[in-house]
Subunit: 402 residues, 2 copies
């Protein structure tokens, strides 16, 4: 009496052998979202992850557990793939060099160096003529005190390497506040605190053949040093300023030979009262940070643009033609879920889906910890206020605040 | 000299234990695309697949190899999940009943029966007052000949079960053409060949609590019995006709207690010259087929609507509130890739991505066979002609025809 199952059988296909293979070092949400983009394109992702049940280990069948600073593990990954990429900038140079003997590493370590080291980056930006805040390489309390004096008593101190989401950054008024970092050795970066009007990010992709594609410049809002809200396109940024910002980002990508996604975070400040032709106070962008990987400021592209940054990154590192970066609707708003009062934010699904049927929820499969990036929400639409209200409302529910 | 890897570690999270778990029977492209929707929501998909390296086995880490008609395998899957769903309608009833003791099966076998058996479905449609082509249950050449005489000599003969993509369907003019099927035993379905103007599909989702959400009605074009092109929304279908078509689909969903996606394929014919208020010839829909799973006619929703049918199916079977079904742009066009001249259509990526930067490519990781559904392409935009040209152009390149 059983009906014979007449499903189309997919046995011993050989289709898997023909798949383009991309290796990614890192097991967090970026590799997870790369996998979402890899599946429709039939690209096989291989990942070196911190834990089999981590954010990307959960969803990438070809995952191996290992550390980003374990040369043997990174090289074993490189051997299995057509091209190797990274989810973060913290893979040691000599390991990237060793892996590069086995498969192309994109972006290459010659580019990644500028995303790893803020002092190197500041020097390079000056060399390129990209506007940056005033800055000093400082090795002692005396040097810091001298810099602070020039800055009117207050400045931003940064460790050149390994900072992220507000870590490795201090606003200081006294050189003594740098004592512990100075004790760790090595130079620090002291810079002017830009009294910015707002912050923006220019995100683009570049492939080895040189093709570059930019998404619209976005406005970013930080909260305690971590990205909190992104609005695309950036309100208050007209075509002239957007062109200026994108030109800076393209120049950086080309000069540094970046392959894959490049995100350039910038402050936009008033330009000392000089007015533009329109009579509005002129706005001046200053390069703050570089990232050479899919970036939080472009998560909105998953739903909001023809091509997501994750798909684009895969295309770029495989040297495939880049996809259209046109936005699908007038506005996209992305809000991060930074920690939660709930043991598991999925407990709020009933409530949040009921109230916000247009909210696109992304949870990273990560354990909740205070202020940890555990997910994000995107809303696209033609009404900015509504998109802001819905995305913030949904994120607040996932944080257990409503 | 090595920089310490300061990545956010995701070790022993416990986040996986808390994930909602959905089991799916079937290892084809529908489960593959369900996985694309499951990842962002942090839903853990478990699949019973035909092959570990098949379309969904490749991308669902929690896959087990087994047959849809192996009761022990289906029950083992049910034991591991919160809810069980199916990718096709061919799981035997008694196996669904056994699995239903272990986890809710959605849609239930009481609903699936009408998607499994075309005779049962035709009877039910008549009972509901849904318009259908004239039809007969036939057991012999005599009965077929009598039906054909009433139909003016030509009709459509169908096996009640296990047909798909044009299989199990014949246009006949002589009862003798049914001899082999009659020899297999069991009644057949003979029906009128509707001289349709075009074909449409109404696709909706329904959850156990009763909530229903419809996407816009789409126009479908078949080629040798398989879906070839889908345009959303359906050109030539005004609000009145769309309402009538959606009402039929909602009535079916509610009366049959469907949970998950329901696709109702319909012919739209001219209504015997009776004109509508506008003076145009009145159009009459006729129910052709039902499917109770994500359906080819709604693949466009992945890029073209706020909520994709795959996300919606997961929401529905988990009894979560349904997402918005609003389209993102004026038009979405989906074209299937049915077979290819290329050994692997990914060989065409360089060419197709260069020429069609807005085309969204979906390849299913399946070996190429003649006319097999191995992928699809979607283009969304505000110009229908352009979306048609781009989607067909891209699909033709993937088929190796350009």
């Amino acid at each position: 009496m059983t009906a014979k199952a007449h499903v189309q059988r997919v046995v011993g296909t050989g289709a898997e052998e023909a798949a383009p293979r991309v290796g990614v070092v890192g097991g967090g949400q970026l590799a997870r979202m790369m996998q979402e983009a890899a599946i429709p394109l039939g690209i096989q992702l291989h990942a070196l992850v911190e834990a089999a049940d981590g954010a990307s280990g959960q969803v990438i069948p070809n995952s191996q557990v290992g550390d980003a600073d374990d040369s043997a593990a990174v090289c074993a990954l490189a051997e299995r793939v057509d091209v190797l990429t990274v989810e973060h900038e913290h893979v040691p140079d000599e390991i990237l060099a060793a892996a590069g003997e086995l498969a192309p590493v994109r972006p290459g370590s010659h580019a990644l160096a500028y995303a790893q080291d803020k002092l190197l980056m500041r020097e390079k930006m000056e060399e390129l003529g990209a506007p940056v805040p005033r800055w000093w390489r400082v090795n002692s309390e005396q040097e810091i005190q001298a810099g602070l004096a020039e800055l009117g008593g207050r400045g931003v101190l940064k460790t050149p390497r390994d900072g992220y989401d507000g870590k490795g950054v201090r606003i200081i008024a006294e050189a003594s506040e740098a004592r512990d970092w100075l004790a760790d050795g090595g130079p620090l970066l002291l810079e002017e605190m830009i009294p910015f009007e707002f912050e923006v990010a220019a995100v683009l992709a570049r492939r080895p053949s040189g093709e570059v594609a930019c998404w619209p410049v976005v406005r970013t809002v930080q909260q305690q040093g971590a990205c909190f809200e992104v609005v695309a396109p950036a309100p208050g940024v007209g075509p002239e300023l957007e062109g200026q910002i994108q030109d800076i980002a393209v120049k950086i990508a080309e000069d540094l030979d970046v392959v894959g996604i490049l995100a350039v975070e910038m402050f936009v400040g008033s330009n000392g009262g000089e007015a533009s032709a329109s009579g509005a106070p002129a706005l001046q962008p200053y390069v703050n940070e570089l990232a050479m990987r899919p970036h939080n400021s472009a998560h909105w592209t998953i739903e909001g643009a023809d091509t997501s940054q994750f798909e684009q990154h895969l295309r770029a590192v495989l040297d495939l033609p880049l996809g259209s970066t046109l936005p699908l609707r007038d506005w996209s708003v992305m809000v991060n879920v930074l920690g939660s009062e709930l043991d598991d934010p999925r407990e709020a699904y009933q409530q949040v889906m009921e109230k916000y049927p247009r909210a696109k929820i992304h949870m990273y499969g990560k354990e909740v910890k205070p202020r940890r990036k555990i997910g994000h929400v995107t809303v696209v639409g033609d009404d900015l206020d509504e998109a802001l209200a819905q995305s913030h409302g949904a994120a607040a529910m996932l944080r257990g605040e409503v």
